[in-house]
Symmetry: C2
């Protein structure tokens, strides 16, 4: 077969697979936003069937023939050309997919589905004994999956590859170790100080329609295109890319909290801006996809934290917020800024602030690595969890549901996912630092509510690159160095030293 | 292959195909209710791909082997057993699907898509010359499709089978001829009389949130289960069954019209009640499907017209409506009843009342049959249309967009669809007559807002039967006779003689 022809066939197959997976995306979005209560069982059957078709497509033996035809050829010399990148990624995805026997794929899907249902029942009852066998089953299967895929050093790496391709646990540990120490130290200093405005918007009322319209206005101003997306309500905020021209975000509202909905909208808008800025002319092939969760999360956290929780941001938006919300009429800008940046060690990751958040993640990452190494077993997990909570955050969970059973991820079979949250924060600070160095007086521009320059910089350097560079190469290409936690640490130190007068 | 095994394989294949088609259903629903403006192009690509997969599944040659194994066997003696019905329908659908060459299927899909886009552009500009070549292309393809499928008497029958299986144009003509004459006569008499309350709710304001909550309340009272469905807004009202536990309806609101949204909600709820009452234990096999559009439409029209436009219905609901809408405070029940039952020949089918509606449909049916017989060509269509409008409704369309170009159906390739609207009205009156005969004092019960008996009767006699009986057999089974327009004629004569004091 001529290589050009093989490449064409690979492209068509890739695009058709993407039509299917983007359809699965819509089914998921609908399940969390629109579906009537009695529709869940059928949705689960639809999704199982489509997952089976997607697996069949991903492991189609013709892919191997087509790849052989293009890899042996001189189709392209440039490893960063669209063709070379697509071939590189098709190869990685195909080789990984065919290593999973169908029986294991089915068992993994079943255990994830049953595990999640068990978790939904067990967590409100704080019933660890009920959940434990499901988690053990899942962990055993994830170990089996890691063995099936293979790895050089750590079984964990085989799972990590699904979320952060080309990354390794060992390298992450190197980055995280330094961050861990710096955060524990910063938190220690914060504990001895106080942010006088921490509770300034407690017990205030923020009517939900106003929260919605304000969040939409801000999302629009930072660049989210509502004619290519929409904002809905779901139990947990998420971004769903359905295809070019259709990237949707969600949030949930709570009338007595300004922060819950607002910052999650900006977080999801950050993800969506990445999707909206991908090289869409190549949609349906690997180059037109977020390169990793660690880069994807850098985009959400950059907008959510480095932007929307910054003082320049509110210099621009606070007058509008005051106009919208009666609760803010008599509150000064700096008080408000202090209130939305309170640091408080807490038991629950999803409620955590910028400083403590990564400690929650590191705890999970460390436990996951041990589980995959078989140096920790599921029945030892609650104790190990609680010990680490004391070391990292100085807190002891009073029960399982605010401890080891708090997250949905493990119950759904996502092991290897958590570290990308912290990697995202590290990348975000590093990218933002670089943007500030390259753009003329970025802070002044942002203070005036001009987000165009920053967005264009992200578009040019990150979004439009898609998966051209491997994740670490992208960071190096954009910032000149490997992922380096120093930028995050410096950012947090500076911000919270000022806020807490350290 | 053992017949039991073949039946099992057919069932699995059928269910998997249904997971796919129900997914396509969700994509359509989303496209008309939620999709952002820029998402349409991608949606169209998703749908084309999934249609291709569905076609491949429907023509899978293994179906033929499995069918051979079950048809030769004595799997069942009862032609009305679930197994026998499923085998009958799998055979019909398979034989029809394989007769369409893939090239024709692709061409049909393309012409439908391009035809609809052309219509959307041409209609607002009243540009018949622009639309005509697309319609000619479509009509040629539909003729080719009819030849490919084959027929005994009329090419039309091959197309009709998609919407009203086992029916024929000749038999419909027999039924419709009598109806046509009776309606023209009734309309003539109405033209010479007057309904004094016809304009009683013109120029009134009905706030949209109140319209929505009222329509929801009524839909719930007649039995629509909102925990297995939802009501949304779309440009044209429709019902989408996505699966068991998930049957959604839509409407559109206009602040100065009570009738537009309200009766369309009840219409769609009627369809949805049918879907919610199908034998769901067999979901994914043919027996668990509306048997035909003519029966499906009988369920929507029964609730919309025979119920929701009746006096007993408003005896129950009018006090609630008055409470909700200030515009009705000073209007009596009988005036309101007169207002929502105005008869007025008009150019546009979708705006037509109960009396004139079927004349619009008969016009289209007669033209379609001639087109398929090649006794009429597309370029003669506007003239033929206008002539029939004069004969049937006494009106001459002043332009194409209020004449031959008003409906979306032909532009999307739906030929053979229109007559099921009138068949639905005929069936509705016949079913309602039968229910009244079998249930004790139905009118009194309905006047008290008790819809349970009627719904249970429909559930037992029609909904739960699914596709067990062929459409005509179902009508015969339930009412003891073939579809007979006499019930519709008598119902209309009685109702409008009273209203118009004829």
């Amino acid at each position: 077969m001529r290589p050009e022809q093989a490449y064409e066939l690979l492209t068509t197959h890739s695009r058709e697979t993407a039509y299917l997976t983007s359809t699965i995306g819509l089914l998921h979005w609908d399940e969390r936003t629109c579906i009537p209560a009695k529709g869940h069982a059928h949705r689960s059957s639809q999704l199982s069937f489509l997952a089976k078709v997607a697996h069949t497509m991903a492991t189609d033996p013709r892919i191997s023939e087509w790849l052989a035809a293009v890899e042996d050829s001189m189709l392209t010399n440039d490893p960063l050309s669209v063709e070379a990148v697509n071939i590189r990624e098709w190869r990685r995805l195909y080789d990984r997919a065919v290593k999973i026997p169908v029986s294991l794929a089915v068992e993994l899907a079943r255990s994830a589905s049953e595990g999640q249902t068990a978790w939904e029942t067990a967590r409100p009852r704080d019933d660890w004994d009920m959940f434990k066998p499901y988690l053990s089953w899942l962990v055993d299967l994830k170990r089996e999956q890691a063995e099936a895929i293979g790895y050089e050093n750590e079984p964990y790496d085989a799972l990590l590859d699904y979320y952060e391709p080309y990354e390794s646990a060992q390298r992450l540990e190197g980055i995280f170790q330094h961050l861990r120490q710096a955060l524990v130290n910063l938190l220690d200093r914060i504990r001895g100080a106080s942010n006088p405005d921490a509770n300034a918007i407690r017990n205030c009322r923020f009517p939900i329609p106003d929260q919605e319209s304000f969040a939409k206005e801000v999302a629009r101003e930072i660049g989210y295109d509502f004619s290519a997306g929409r904002l809905d309500v779901s139990a947990h905020p998420f971004t769903q890319s359905i295809g070019p021209g259709d990237v949707r975000i969600t949030t949930r509202y709570c009338e007595d909290s300004f922060s819950d909905a607002f910052f999650s909208v900006i977080h999801e808008a950050g993800h969506a801006l990445y999707h909206q800025g991908l090289p869409l002319e190549n949609w349906g092939t690997p180059i037109c996809a977020p390169v990793s969760l660690g880069v994807n999360e850098s985009q959400s956290r950059l907008w959510e934290n480095l932007e929307a929780q910054s003082l320049p941001f509110w210099k621009h938006f606070y007058p509008q917020a005051q106009q919208r919300f009666a609760a803010l009429h008599d509150l000064g800008l700096h008080q408000f800024y202090g209130a939305v940046n309170q640091v408080q060690p807490s038991l629950i990751r999803v409620d955590a602030d910028e400083v403590t958040y990564n400690l929650h993640v590191l705890l999970r990452f460390e436990l996951e690595v041990l589980l995959m190494r078989r140096e920790l077993e599921v029945e030892e997990l609650p104790e190990a969890w609680n010990e680490k909570m004391v070391t990292l955050l100085g807190l002891t969970p009073p029960d399982y549901s605010r401890g080891v059973m708090q997250d949905v991820h493990w119950s759904g079979g996502s092991i290897g996912y958590f570290p990308t949250y912290t990697l995202g924060n590290i990348n975000a600070a590093q990218f933002f630092h670089q943007a500030s160095a390259e753009l003329d007086d970025l802070e002044a521009v942002l203070r005036q509510g001009e987000f165009r320059q920053l967005l264009e910089w992200l578009r040019a350097n990150i979004h439009s690159q898609g998966s051209r560079y491997m994740p670490r190469d992208l960071v190096r290409h954009v910032t000149g160095e490997d992922p380096n936690p120093e930028y995050l640490i410096r950012y947090l130190e500076r911000k919270y030293s000022e806020l807490y007068r350290l």
